[in-house]
């Protein structure tokens, strides 16, 4: 079931946050792996601009102090951010001789991202959100884009896992093979093992699946093993990821397979990147 997965353009969502830096780093690694063009996308949030235009606009900073929020300072701040991010992208891409572009868009962030991913083979976004001591809350944008995107999306997590085991939900379907091939494409050779989580579906011919997998492993010079999933719910997936100390989780499926609530819960509970292959 070998399929050549082509990744020619990677769009990475950039803003001034730390999550965005994590996303950029991950995108650069993937671009080096696939030799794809990297497009840095900075979106000027129109809601912020509108708010800034209102006469009473104030913001409450994280330090619980209020201050005035005006249009001029927002514009200034956005311009500075864009310039800074462009430089960051250039600094990250050029040492590796990667093709790169920096694009600035203005509008609704979710819409702009969903629009941009249409032209991309892979969208990389940071798992933005409030960060507490232990818990990283997924941002609404990350959840919405991951749930609604039509192309493959990687939600990067700021906590780096030491382990190299990668978990892939794999039911033997063409979509699942595509996810497996995408994972193999994005992952450097010789990095830990792949653990394939097979859902408890009766129609799956496990013997044949194992034979095919063995063939695939030999072709790709990868090591993989199959683990039976008892249930496909988020809680069970999360516990497996934790048990394996996995460095990432790969999911495949249509948009309808992952409603926003499930994606939110998944991202909230996992401490590793999640790749939604479509």
């Amino acid at each position: 079931m070998r399929e050549d997965v082509l990744i020619r353009r990677i769009v990475v969502a950039l803003d001034a946050s730390r999550h965005s830096s994590d996303a950029l780093r991950a995108a650069i690694d993937l671009a080096r792996q696939t030799n794809a063009e990297i497009v840095g996308l900075f979106i000027e949030d129109e809601n912020l601009l509108r708010l800034a235009g209102l006469p009473f606009a104030r913001e409450v900073m994280s330090s619980a102090v209020q201050r005035k929020f005006d249009a001029a300072s927002v514009e200034r701040s956005l311009r500075a951010s864009a310039a800074h991010l462009a430089r960051e992208l250039q600094r990250a891409a050029e040492p590796h001789h990667l093709r790169w572009r920096f694009v600035v868009a203005r509008g609704n962030v979710d819409e702009q991202l969903l629009e941009a991913e249409k032209d991309a083979d892979l969208l990389v976004i940071g798992q933005a959100g409030r960060r507490s001591h232990h818990v990283i809350e997924p941002g609404d944008t990350a959840v919405r884009v991951a749930a609604q995107a039509t192309k493959t999306v990687l939600v990067q997590h700021p906590v780096l896992q030491r382990n190299q085991t990668l978990l892939i939900v794999f039911d033997g379907s063409p979509r699942a093979w595509r996810a497996l091939n995408t994972a193999a494409k994005l992952r450097p050779r010789g990095r830990g093992e792949l653990v394939l989580l097979t859902p408890p579906q009766e129609e799956i011919d496990r013997t044949q699946l194992d034979a095919e997998l063995q063939l695939w492993c030999d072709e790709n010079q990868l090591s993989a093993r199959r683990v039976q999933l008892l249930d496909l719910d988020v809680k069970h997936l999360v516990s497996l990821v934790r048990r394996h100390h996995a460095c990432g989780l790969v999911l495949s499926g249509e948009r309808s397979d992952y409603p926003e609530s499930a994606v939110r819960e998944l991202l909230r509970q996992l401490s590793c990147p999640v790749l939604f292959v479509r």
Binding site: E46, L51, E59, V60, M61, N108, S132, H134
Partner: protein, 827 residues
């Protein structure tokens, strides 16, 4: 005096038997040293051994020992052997360890533990920490812990979510949206999915605008309060997690620490230490969790392998690892070798240290036993002496760098807890060092109360000869040499007497004796004999001498070639052969020196030319003054001495000192006065007192041999010989060739007790004793002297009278005589 009274210039030739006291090999009672057992007991040092016994036994403070004696005595060897053989140390010996002080990290704690416990504790702690590195993370991997931690995380997360959701809902109720800004949050009225456009807002009526602003003000206030609560929630959550972590880790930790504790029962110090270790681990559980790696390898921190270092045990003194000897000798007593040191390691360009880098000094290693030190080395190593005294006074050793001690370093460094000292220090050194310290260092007498003064020689008796033979045999065995025959041992004993410069004494210097044995063995080996014979000992002695005698030979050659003038035949007035002794390195040898005297009219003084040119030492000057006094008391009791005599060591270009030339000088002077020729075939040595008695001198053997060598070189005529003080007869241990020459009648040794005896021998004229009228017999040497002095006095008086009659004529020439005569007249 009997001989003098008899009026004869009696010779007192020393009998051949007195020239060399032979050791009879048959008296030793063995054929070869193979027959003798080892006996390492110290011979001839009863007093020193008593002092050692006392010093070692005294348990009070300050009773440290100072062992005095010269270097050839092998003091270090003797003392170390004695202390080692004596058995136990003076106090129970402990392992000493330094461990981390969890309350004051810069002051490492010292633990005193029974022998071998230190290294066991070190291993046990290393194993404990290794075990904890897997056991504690394993405890945190347990389902119990994970569930509890997850619950806390979920709770905190829920708390936040709830607060923000409530705010969001309330905003929604009023048609407002919650928006994230780059640095915080903001509320804004919504229109559709997004924020209302400013132009749309402007179109709203004033009441609506007022309502919106009022609602926003409340929402912003609420947001402020929510954000204020976040840090507290976070803190509470963190504290709860810490508590759970402690609870989870405590169980694992206690089990493992109790296992260690059980290995060291009834040791409160370890018990206490383990309790503090447990507390510290619980406070630093994060150290035991797997360390996250940084993403960028160039910014990565160096692996923090040091984080468990504070649980290590630095075994400073390990009794199990030492050679179990309680006698420790420090060959290089530099400050750090004595007191210990704190080492540093370079870390990213900085120097850092910790308690594991504390290194012990000799005081630590010897604690509980004896520390033997060479006094000279201690004194010549800067700061060592003061540090040693400080440690002995305090009864404890504190490791301080010199920088700290001198106040030169003010950076934070370690201040290890001091370690109590329970040891005896044994200093070994020269007598001069002992006396200087005693005189100039007020602490010395308080800290080193026991002087162990070793004898340089011992009495030579049949018993002691046997003991000495036993010592030789022991050395032969120890040095793994060929067996020595009894004759060879006897020759060694005779040499020991020669080393002591006394036929009735034996030198106790074992180091040169051991060298002699080695060298004799070498010569025996060169001749491929199985046994060392007396000839090999003699060969070794001759070779030793030959290796060193270059200067002696040059001096002899100079006399032989008549560059240096020494007569060994004939007679001369005012000229005599004195004898000097030279010490060059290990070689001591004698050489004749021509002394001349001249006499002229003067005011009764003896001019010592050596002193005038500052080449004479104080002792020589004293001797010349004694001669002056003796002259005055003998010949000037009634009339003043109206002459001036000059004495000089001819062809002497260096400093001379000592009084052993007194007899020679005075005889030369009397010869000059009496115009009596002196036999040049004789040389003389001996010092004089004011009564004219001849007193003993040093180096008598070398002096005799020195003159003999010259006579032999110039030709032995049969009448040559040396006059020595009678008191020196017992010191004679002369070379075989000298003894043989005396035996053959070609050389002679004369022992004299008085100046008169010497005068008679040297001039061949009876000296003469004073009669009842205070006059010497006619024709005697003393009479000739007295007559010449009287003649000079008369001449002086006459010159004085002439000077008075013809003022200005001959005034200068006669002034001294006038003064001398005037004084005589007044008296």
């Amino acid at each position: 005096m009997d001989r003098a009274q008899n009026g004869t210039s009696e010779r007192r030739a020393v009998a051949v038997s007195e020239l060399y006291r032979v050791c009879d090999p048959t008296s030793l009672g063995f054929e070869t040293t193979r027959e003798l057992d080892d006996d390492r007991s110290v011979i001839g040092q009863a007093r020193a051994i008593e002092a050692l016994e006392f010093g070692v036994g005294m348990r009070h403070e300050g009773y440290n020992l100072f062992v005095l004696g010269s270097s050839g005595l092998d003091l270090l060897g003797v003392v170390r052997r004695y202390l080692t053989e004596r058995g136990d140390g003076r106090a129970p010996r402990y392992d000493w360890c330094y461990v981390h002080n969890f309350k004051a990290p810069h002051q490492p704690r010292a633990l005193s533990l029974p022998p071998s416990v230190g290294s066991r504790l070190k291993k046990a702690m290393a194993a404990l920490i290794e075990e904890l590195q897997t056991a504690i993370p394993a405890a945190f991997e347990s389902d119990d812990y994970r569930t509890q931690a997850q619950e806390i995380e979920d709770e905190f997360s829920e708390q936040q979510r709830k607060a923000f959701t409530e705010l969001q809902e309330r905003a929604d109720e009023h048609g407002m949206g919650l928006i994230r800004t780059p640095v915080g949050f903001a509320f804004a009225p919504k229109k559709g999915e997004g924020v209302i456009r400013p132009e749309d807002y402007e179109k709203l009526d004033d009441d609506e605008k007022e309502r919106i602003e009022a609602v926003l003000a409340v929402l912003q206030k609420d947001m402020e309060e929510t954000l204020r609560k976040l840090p507290r929630w976070r803190k509470e959550s963190r504290q709860r997690l810490k508590r759970i972590e402690r609870e989870v880790a405590t169980l694992t930790l206690e089990t493992l620490i109790d296992e260690v504790r059980q290995n060291f029962p009834e040791l409160p110090a370890i018990d206490d230490y383990l309790t503090s270790v447990k507390g510290d681990i619980l406070d630093n559980l994060d150290d035991f969790k797997p360390q996250e790696q940084a993403q960028n390898p160039f910014l990565a921190k160096a692996p923090d392998n040091d984080r468990f270092k504070r649980y290590e045990v630095n075994v400073l003194v390990d009794q199990a690892a030492s050679d179990s000897s309680h006698v420790f000798y420090e060959d290089h007593p530099a400050y750090v070798n004595l007191i210990g040191r704190i080492e540093h390691v370079a870390h990213f360009g900085n120097l850092k240290t910790d308690f594991t880098l504390i290194k012990p000094g000799a005081l630590h290693r010897a604690n509980g036993g004896f520390l033997v030190l060479d006094a000279r080395k201690v004194l010549t190593n800067g700061f060592s002496w003061e540090a040693l005294k400080r440690a002995l006074t305090a009864g404890a050793v504190r490791i301080e760098s010199l920088g700290q001690q001198l106040g030169l370093v003010s950076t934070v460094t370690l201040e290890p807890e001091e370690i109590p000292l329970e040891l005896k220090v044994v200093l070994v050194g020269d007598r001069m060092i002992y006396y200087l310290l005693h005189q100039h260092d007020p602490d010395f007498a308080r800290l080193f109360k026991v002087a162990v003064d070793f004898e340089e020689e011992m009495e030579r008796s049949r018993e002691n000869d046997a003991l000495f033979a036993r010592l030789v045999a022991t050395l032969v065995h120890e040095l793994e040499l060929r067996p020595f025959s009894a004759a060879a041992v006897a020759r060694v004993i005779e040499h020991a007497a020669r080393m002591a410069a006394d036929a009735e004494r034996l030198s106790t210097h074992t180091l040169p004796i051991a060298d002699l044995l080695r060298e004799a063995d070498y010569w025996a080996g060169a001749q491929a004999t199985e046994q060392v014979e007396a000839s090999h000992v003699q060969r070794a002695l001759d070779a030793q001498h030959r290796r060193l005698d270059r200067v002696q030979r040059r001096m002899l050659e100079a006399i032989e070639r008549e560059t240096v003038f020494i007569d060994t035949t004939g007679e001369r007035v005012g000229q005599i052969n004195g004898l000097a002794v030279f010490q060059l390195g290990e070689l001591m040898f004698g050489r004749p020196s021509r002394i001349t005297a001249t006499v002229r009219l003067g005011k009764g003084e003896v001019v010592d030319i050596e002193r005038e040119v500052d080449l004479g030492g104080a002792l020589h000057s004293k001797a010349v003054l004694i001669i002056s006094s003796l002259l005055g008391s003998r010949y000037g009791r009634e009339t003043p001495l109206s002459f001036t005599a000059s004495l000089v060591f001819e062809q002497s270009y260096g400093r001379i000192d000592g009084d052993s030339a007194s007899v020679a000088e005075l005889v030369a002077l009397l010869s000059a006065l009496a115009d009596l020729p002196i036999r040049q075939s004789l040389a003389v040595t001996g010092s004089l007192n004011q009564r004219g008695d001849v007193q003993p001198i040093g180096g008598v053997n070398e002096k005799i041999e020195g003159f003999f060598d010259v006579c032999r070189a110039k030709g032995l005529s049969g009448g040559q010989g040396v006059l020595i003080p009678e008191a020196n007869t017992k010191h004679l241990m002369l070379r075989r060739d000298v003894v043989e020459a005396v035996e053959a009648g070609t050389f002679a040794i004369y022992a004299v007790r008085s100046l008169d005896q010497a005068l008679e021998l040297l001039t061949g004229v009876p000296a003469g004793d004073l009669d009842a009228e205070g006059r010497y017999p006619a024709g005697s040497a003393n009479r000739r002297v007295a007559d010449r002095i009287a003649t000079l006095t008369r001449r002086a008086i006459e010159l004085a009278r002439l000077a008075k009659e013809k003022p200005g004529d001959g005034e200068d020439a006669a002034s001294d005589a006038t003064e001398a005569a005037g004084e005589g007249e007044r008296r």
